[in-house]
Symmetry: C2
């Protein structure tokens, strides 16, 4: 086994290091985050860091880096308070990935990347029509990470939309049936296949 330590990390080139450490955490969730400002200008960006925070009440978080692309998402969330998560499925991978390009603030990635905005039940934030599992969230709290100035943004889930057939009797959602993909690193999209469903473990 190869041993990578502080010295070998420092010798890595910046792209190499970014790829290495973006893959080493394991497989990631694949979501498009939809936002808008108070003038109705919309924004859409791919995020691979959405993470479960709690079920009761339902909270979801994501990690935001202080880059141009992600800053538009952040500014809109702070301005509006509402935002959406939309699963990326195998039919929209290229379009979803394209939202990571550095578009100007006045360009909507919905239009630039070929997605249709969808507004549901008077929730003032754009869902992605092409997504099969979508959530409407309300900003709850944020944590500034001192180590590298990234931000954990936490929201409360107020709405979820999905085909009823995707929900199993035990409440779990069949992500493979929905075509939801996973991400490795920054550029690779994969489709998971079920191996094993286990039970609640006891000693």
């Amino acid at each position: 086994m190869k041993h990578i330590n502080i010295e070998s990390i420092e010798q890595m080139g910046s792209r190499y290091r970014a790829n290495f450490f973006n893959t080493i955490s394991g497989f990631k969730s694949a979501n498009l985050i939809g936002t808008n400002d108070n003038f109705g200008n919309t924004n859409l960006a791919v995020f691979n860091s959405v993470v479960h925070i709690g079920a009761n009440p339902p909270y979801l978080g994501f990690i935001l880096r202080p880059t141009t692309v992600e800053r538009h998402t952040y500014e809109n969330i702070k301005e509006n308070g509402l935002y959406t998560f939309n699963h990326i499925n195998e039919n929209i991978i290229e379009k979803a990935h394209q939202t990571s390009a550095k578009y100007q603030k006045n360009v909507s990635e919905f239009e630039a990347c070929g997605f249709e905005e969808e507004y549901l039940n008077n929730f003032d934030s754009p869902y992605v029509k092409e997504s099969k599992i979508k959530m409407g969230l309300q900003f709850e709290e944020e944590h500034f990470i001192k180590a590298n100035h990234t931000i954990l943004v936490i929201g409360k889930l107020l709405h979820a939309y999905l085909d009823e057939k995707l929900i199993s009797n035990d409440g779990s959602i069949d992500l493979t049936e929905a075509g939801t993909v996973t991400i490795s690193g920054l550029y690779e999209y994969l489709k998971p296949t079920k191996l094993k469903k286990l039970d609640y473990a006891k000693p």
Copy 2:
């Protein structure tokens, strides 16, 4: 599409709600976190919330719930300052899942679940010998999430071990070649297959 809102969430049973909201965030990383206290008593627990925080310097985070199982991990990290992440691969799914059982504090899940402790390069925290991608981390900072009393724990990566053949020329790690699995919800383990590797997106 079925619409789930605050009212329908409140009407869900607790197991149903846990399954629903643990699956709705998308696919998750699958890691075993190895820890030990200052007396050398070891602990091992499955976590599906490891998330990339940054590449330079390399930081990784995970979300910890205040349950018995996860509290042992937390207490050891705070006591020792060092801990390990170990990818779960398709050969060790059942054993890895079994670490989620509520063992007493004096029981090591390494022994109870059939894993071998591995100590490398004087790093005083146990790696999982059966894992093919392993990391040694040092506690960096923590954030208490007010909404539901979970904790974001962030560590700095000091060591990584993996087969050199798993590292591509661009620095990314081939997780499918390593047999690393992904988790949906709390109980389902899946194996991803590559669909598309895209490039850095430009407008």
